[in-house]
Amino acid sequence: MSYHVDQNGYYGNFGGAFIPEMLYPNVEELRTNYLQIMNDPSFKKDFDQLLKDYVGRPTPLYFAKRLSEKYGTRIYFKREDLNHTGAHKVNNTIGQILLARKLGKKRIIAETGAGQHGVATATVCALMGMQCVVYMGEIDIARQAPNVARMKMLGAEVRPALSGSRTLKDATNEAIRDWINNPLDTHYIIGSAIGPHPYPDMVTRFQSVISEEIRKQLLEKEGRDYPDHVVACIGGGSNAAGSYYHFLDDTRVNIIAVEAAGKGIDSGESAATSALGREGIIHGCKTLLMQTDDGQITEPYSISAGLDYPGVGPMHAHLYASKRGEFISVTDDDAMNAGLELTRLEGIIPAIETAHALAVPQQRPFKKDEVVVINLSGRGDKDLNTYIDHFNL
């Protein structure tokens, strides 16, 4: 079985491009050009150079000694939190803005949940001197205020999404509407491995630098270029897709996907798509989707803005359906505790999104000699207020 995208933009039964005709020319332009541009040596050179000199790659693979001792296993962290702007998101925005430039676009739009993708987009727009508009749900604007301020300082316009649950799903709707209204000069930098083909594959390829580096770094540290388990949190699934990419066909590697259970899977306030979703269409893509019997998209809930999404990328839907991936869901409380634990044991304050992945060793024992790589997708500066309120610090 293949876990990669096929000729028609599908991962198994999932993916495709269910887009209104208004978006066809834009998406088709991307579809016919993205691989050629990405494989062009001059593009690769620019991309690699920026990742190295501007983003600070390669990010370290850090052996977490105290945490490993506590859980009786060998835990490594892939330190995407040490990237410029504080999360993995910038790997994708660097790639997409270079691509947008090649396509002659002048204006960039993006959606954001936690604000990390918005900041990463605003950053590369500043770097390239391009106009930037970021859509963000009204609720997320309130809970991720530091990132809103950063985007503004970087020169981006932050437009509130006021419809629906006023979170990531609605910000994505608004960005798509903007693209319909501005079909000629605008590129839409989607921030996760979601949306119509070729977005999930394109974003995954830009993020695949994560697993490429893990392989090399593990070879140095462990004498083998694969872990027993690779663990990542899933909002739309970009940091996860990048962490899994080079291990997808390597069955020695167990893939663990961590979703946000919110207040509990059966609480009615959750974002655990694999547990609660059915096949459906969201944002131009057939995937697992939280929805009513009648096919209306459900409003998800998670304490973390970046995981508060009612779908998952089509690659992950396929990993779930084919049982290639092990799916785990983590509640708000367990994630918050795991975030504090990492802070106290290792001196790293993680993003609340990432903290969901950190709760896995408590929920699921690993063997003593197993090598577990957890993608530390982002840092927690943006979440200090939420941590402080939660723990009365």
Binding site: P20, E21, R177, I297
Partner: protein, 254 residues
């Protein structure tokens, strides 16, 4: 295929079609609105099946959809409301909606129910022509439903011709690069686009939608097309003046 849409477009030019969202302003307004529209002289109706995330719609239709869903509108409810509609309504009726609710109902079951009620066609903005041809065309043909595709000013000539070859009923010409929403005038760019498409001599009739709001935009749009569709402007009128005043709105258009 030959249903009420085909017949209407053969017998009449400059068709006036109205879009409204089922279940808005009130859940049970659907059939009353349809009957008022018919008796006001409207030629064709698009019944909007509301969706939680209408990507191609501007604020007016988004808002009416949200309220309709709050009012309790569902796919099954709409079918129940329309059960007896053909007793006294004989103009073409089209259901316009996003694909996910139809997928969840079951595409075949959905089409079968539409045919039983006497629906003539469907407009599904997020079902692209390629997916339709590969997976659903046979079903639509079995049930005699016209599937109506959109084109926009950015659609290439080759693609317009492909859509022309696959279309039944009419081609929905989106007036400009935008989501739905009323405009008070059309500019040169729109008129050039209307002329350009008219000059292609397509097989399928063309009806213009998005941005039609008044007599002026209706007349400009229908100079070179077979009709025009009014949506957001009609919904705004419903919001402010209610179902009782539908005739006034239609009378002001022509």
């Amino acid at each position: 295929m030959n249903n009420r849409i085909h017949a209407k477009l053969r017998e009449q030019k400059k068709v006036l079609s109205i879009y409204f969202t089922a279940g808005y302003p009130k859940l049970e307004d659907t059939t009353r609105i349809i009957r008022e529209l018919q008796s006001s002289g409207v030629d064709m109706i698009e019944i909007g099946l509301p969706f939680s995330d209408p990507l191609a719609d501007g604020p007016t239709i988004q808002d009416s959809s949200t309220k309709a869903l709050h009012n309790g509108m569902t796919t099954e409810k709409l079918f129940e409301q329309l059960e007896d509609i053909r007793e006294d309504v004989d103009i073409p009726l089209i259901i316009m909606g996003y694909f996910n609710p139809m997928l969840q109902y079951g595409v075949e079951a959905f089409c079968k129910r539409c045919a039983a009620i006497g629906i003539d066609g469907l407009i599904i903005p997020d079902l692209p022509v390629e997916v339709y041809e590969a997976s659903y065309k046979d079903i639509f043909e079995t049930y005699g439903l016209a599937n109506i595709f959109l084109i926009t000013p950015q659609t290439s000539e080759a693609r317009v011709r492909k859509i022309d070859a696959t279309s039944e009923g009419f081609i929905y010409m989106v007036s400009s690069a935008s989501v739905t929403g009323a405009k008070s005038t059309f500019g040169n760019a729109q008129e050039e686009y209307f002329d350009r498409i008219a000059a292609l001599n397509l097989e399928t009739p063309r009806i213009v939608g998005f941005g039609i709001s008044n007599a002026e935009t209706f007349n400009t749009a229908t100079k070179k097309a077979d009709g025009a569709i009014i949506g957001s402007a009609f919904i705004k009128h419903l919001t402010h003046h209610g179902v009782e005043k539908i005739k006034d709105f239609i009378a002001a258009i022509r």
